[in-house]
């Protein structure tokens, strides 16, 4: 790709970007949120039309014209996009094959058999005839990958495929990638996990603010440098965080702010007890689908509560709807940003004030001037990258959307903040910012629940971990016990 330009109204997403991918290499595309990685990929696959620039492909002497994903597929480029882009109303098998096979007729038998073969080879727990919408997020992601790999492709593009996968599945994916590499397939890999980059990649291209920073061999670019290249500045050491964390001293005479007893919801979570103290950061950990999200959703009243009580400062409060929880000072950042978080077409400003507005009530609208003030405040505080406060939130990059949502909840000045996977799909710099923010908030007296798939992160921020398995709370770790091994063994059920 040469000299690619792309701009959206108000944003120059890509400026003069060059990118080269060789046969049989795994090439990482790195950059902070909103750097333009996804945009570059979408230009390459014809989802967006480029403003200028050319794309060259081996075996074609002229620049190739790619106007639609279909063209890209025909040229042997197969892609897994950042947000899962499958059709929820079709069956798993259809999702794997639609749009990429030749011919007029649809042979269900053959297709299902083929799909079952792929599912089996990738160990995906789904049936070919199942409706896709009934699969979990991770399974859908694996299906998308399965589809992309099965294509007889020369170029494979993976845009943050690992953000909703657990470690075992990531390993599977890596093995797959190495196999393909051996077959001479060029792979573009986008992720925010530095470990993963160093595990599989050969080369790294770094983007910043829509501009090319450079292309590097993996050996020549140590982690610290990569990060500074991405951010354009040196990153403070992560050890900072740890030292800050130690400021929290758990004293037993501290009564819990919030307490739940025998809580359960119709989403299928078993009865559980829970408490959190003032200024404490705790976390839920467990494998994918172990019910971490369901726990916090129950506390927030997001699912229908079927039993149990919640106490605030020792007094029982009735929480059946989110608004009850909000009025009691609870804030909840959901894990599925696109579905549960953002209100796509509304401006950043409206998205920031939404929760506060709802709490204030129907007859007390926040004035426009006030709304701008709030918006500007949080855009600055969280350094949100947006053209203006009036930009629709859906045109922000994923990471920046997440920050807007955090801003939304901070604006309500909650006593208890629940963050469900706040760092998913977020670049290293921001991740650390968020972790720091969490600790800062905690030190100011806010209670925080922090959920993340990355154990490192949890260890860094949390002072107490609740371990879950099969939608049950199976253990609680704190203090000395907070080590990687201990967590793993508790999750695996080794202890009990």
């Amino acid at each position: 790709m040469k000299n690619i330009h792309k701009s959206f109204p108000g944003v120059r997403a890509l400026q003069a970007v060059d990118f080269t991918l060789c046969e049989g290499e795994i090439h990482a595309l790195m950059g902070e949120n909103g750097a333009g990685k996804s945009t570059l990929i979408k230009v390459l696959t014809g989802v967006y039309s480029k403003d200028s620039g050319d794309i060259f492909l081996k075996g074609h002497d002229k620049a190739v014209a790619i106007h639609s994903p279909q063209d890209a597929q025909n040229l042997g480029i197969s892609t897994v996009y950042q947000e899962i882009t499958l059709c929820p109303n079709l069956s798993v098998a259809e999702n794997m094959f639609i749009g990429r096979t030749k011919g007029f007729g649809q042979n269900w038998k053959k297709m299902n058999a083929e799909a079952d073969r792929i599912l089996k080879s990738l160990d995906i727990p789904a049936k070919a005839t199942q409706q896709l919408g009934s699969c979990s997020l991770a399974v859908q992601q694996m299906i998308a990958i399965g589809r992309a790999v099965d294509m007889d492709c020369k170029v494979l593009i993976l845009d943050e495929p690992t953000s909703s996968l657990d470690e075992g599945e990531v390993e599977k994916l890596f093995k797959l990638m190495r196999d393909l590499k051996a077959k001479g397939v060029g792979i573009i890999f986008v992720t925010h996990f530095l470990d993963q980059v160093y595990e599989v990649c050969d080369k790294i291209t770094v983007l910043r603010d829509g501009q090319l920073v450079g292309e590097y061999e993996i050996e020549n670019l140590p982690r610290v440098q990569l990060v500074s290249k991405m951010l354009g500045k040196e990153l403070d050491d992560m050890s900072d965080i740890k030292s800050e964390q130690s400021t929290y001293k758990d004293s037993d005479n501290n009564a819990p702010v919030f307490e739940a007893a025998g809580l359960c919801s119709d989403a299928g979570i078993k009865l559980f007890d829970f408490y959190i103290k003032k200024g404490e950061v705790n976390g839920f950990t467990g494998l994918l689908g172990s019910g971490r999200s369901e726990c916090v959703r129950a506390i927030f009243g997001a699912d229908r509560i079927t039993g149990g009580t919640v106490k605030k400062n020792g007094k029982t409060v009735k929480i059946t709807k989110p608004i009850d929880a909000m009025k009691n000072g609870i804030a909840y950042l959901p894990e599925d940003r696109k579905r549960d978080g953002i209100v796509g077409d509304l401006s950043v400003r409206d998205n920031i004030i939404l929760a506060l507005q709802v709490m204030q009530g129907f007859f007390k609208p926040i004035s426009k001037a006030q709304a701008y003030k709030y918006a500007d405040e949080y855009i600055k505080l969280l350094s949100i990258k947006t053209a203006s406060a009036d930009t629709p939130i859906k045109s922000l990059s994923g990471g920046n959307q997440q920050k807007v949502l955090i801003g939304r909840w901070l604006l309500t000045h909650p006593e208890y903040l629940i963050l469900d996977e706040p760092t998913r799909g977020i670049d290293v710099g921001t991740k650390i910012d968020i972790q720091k923010l969490v600790l800062k908030l905690a030190s100011e007296g806010m209670s925080v629940t922090f959920i993340s798939s990355e154990t490192d992160e949890m260890l860094r921020t949390c002072s107490r971990l609740v371990v879950m398995r099969d939608r049950k709370v199976v253990g609680e770790l704190s203090g000395e016990d907070l080590t990687q091994n201990k967590i793993m063994s508790t999750i695996a059920g080794g202890d009990k």
């Binding site: 579905r339 978080g341 929760a355 709802v358 007390k364 939304r408």
Partner: protein, 360 residues
């Protein structure tokens, strides 16, 4: 440099949603101006009751477009919150009108005097059509039936219900004061329907300003899940938009029956739902819900009336009129379609760039 600036502002105007209906309106007016300037003549005369009244095509547009404008308000809200449209408004207007006559006549189809004050009759009608709205709202919000289908029920039954309310009689009100709502109030030379529409618009503006209805409906329309997690109650908000539309419908019912002091169940407010939806769309609002611009919808309503009046003026056969209307509508929406506009802006940019080059 100066060129750049103008270009930028031109672009901005193009991008503004409200530009579409205003441009359409201007085009229609210019068309009329060229073909026959008498279109703009407004005269002050006296009606048969000796009251001063304004008349002329423009006044006719304001007068007859009022019902549509009032409906457009409610329809915009319903569209925004539910991503669907209410096709029962015509039938519900028949119900409202029937209720008004029923209360006024008290069961006797040709009373000497009105049996109840008009305001009472109107309030009962408001209640009735709010009930109809609530019925639609429950089906849509609670049972999650798609709006167009849910409202198909009242669309089918509405006119029958209207007939049933008055036991199939066609009551006639001979009292002068009842005709004020569809005509002129003594001493005021502006058609009352327009005044009523104005009142509705003012109320809407106030509601928009002093409540968060706008934000809530948009949020619910765009993303129901996240609205819910932000403490909103999507079911209630969808429901309430239908009830609000119900109020608008009752007002329309009043104007309609007042215009002719009687009712005809099968033709009163016939096909008005399609025009109301068209008004919302001509205002550049997405019929799939989400963001809306109320002003644009209201202007859209008057655009439609302007078009109808223009066509009548040129003596187009009234049953062939839809064909011409269709052509104009298609031209309007095509020229405001994003892809077409993008193309226009591009060529426009090309032209100006070329000009700049030539000059420089």
């Amino acid at each position: 440099m100066k060129d750049m600036k103008t270009k930028f502002s031109v672009k901005n105007i193009f991008r503004n949603q409200i530009f579409i209906p205003i441009a359409a309106m201007l085009l229609l007016l210019i068309f009329n101006l060229i073909l026959d300037p008498s279109f703009f003549k407004v005269t002050l005369g006296y009606n048969s009751a000796g009251n001063p009244v304004l008349s002329g095509y423009l006044i006719t547009i304001l007068d007859s477009g009022s019902e549509l404008a009032i409906l457009a308000i409610g329809m915009t809200l319903v569209t925004a919150a539910t991503g669907g449209q209410d096709i029962s408004v015509g039938a519900t207007a028949a119900i409202a009108g029937s209720v008004i006559l029923r209360v006024l006549c008290g069961g006797n189809s040709r009373p000497e005097h009105m049996q109840a004050p008009i305001i009472v009759a109107f309030l009962v009608a408001v209640l009735a059509s709010m009930l109809c709205g609530a019925f639609n709202g429950i089906l849509v919000a609670y049972f999650k039936i798609q709006p167009m289908v849910a409202t198909l029920i009242l669309y089918t039954a509405g006119r029958s219900i209207a007939a049933w309310i008055n036991n199939n009689e066609l009551p006639v009100i001979s009292d002068e004061s009842f005709s004020y709502f569809g005509g002129f109030i003594p001493g005021i030379c502006i058609p009352t329907p327009f005044l009523i529409a104005l009142l509705c618009i003012i109320v809407t503006v106030l509601v928009m300003k002093f409540t968060t209805l706008g934000l809530y409906t948009q949020a619910v329309g765009i993303n129901e899940h996240s609205s819910k997690l932000n403490g909103l109650n999507p079911i209630f908000i969808k429901f309430i938009t239908f009830v609000i539309l119900g109020v608008c419908v009752a007002v329309v019912g009043l104007i309609k029956v007042s215009r002719i002091s009687t009712i005809n169940y099968s033709v009163i407010a016939k096909d008005i739902e399609m025009d109301a939806i068209l008004a919302v769309a001509l205002g550049g609002n997405a019929l799939g819900g989400g963001k809306f611009n109320m002003t644009a919808s209201i202007i859209g309503a008057y655009v439609i009336q302007c078009l109808t009046t223009t066509l009548y003026k040129f003596n187009v056969q009234s049953d062939a009129l839809p064909a011409y209307k269709a052509v104009v509508v298609i031209l309007l929406v095509v020229s405001s379609a994003p892809t077409v506009r993008a193309w226009f802006t591009k060529t426009w940019a090309g032209i100006t760039a070329k000009n700049v080059k030539e000059v420089g």
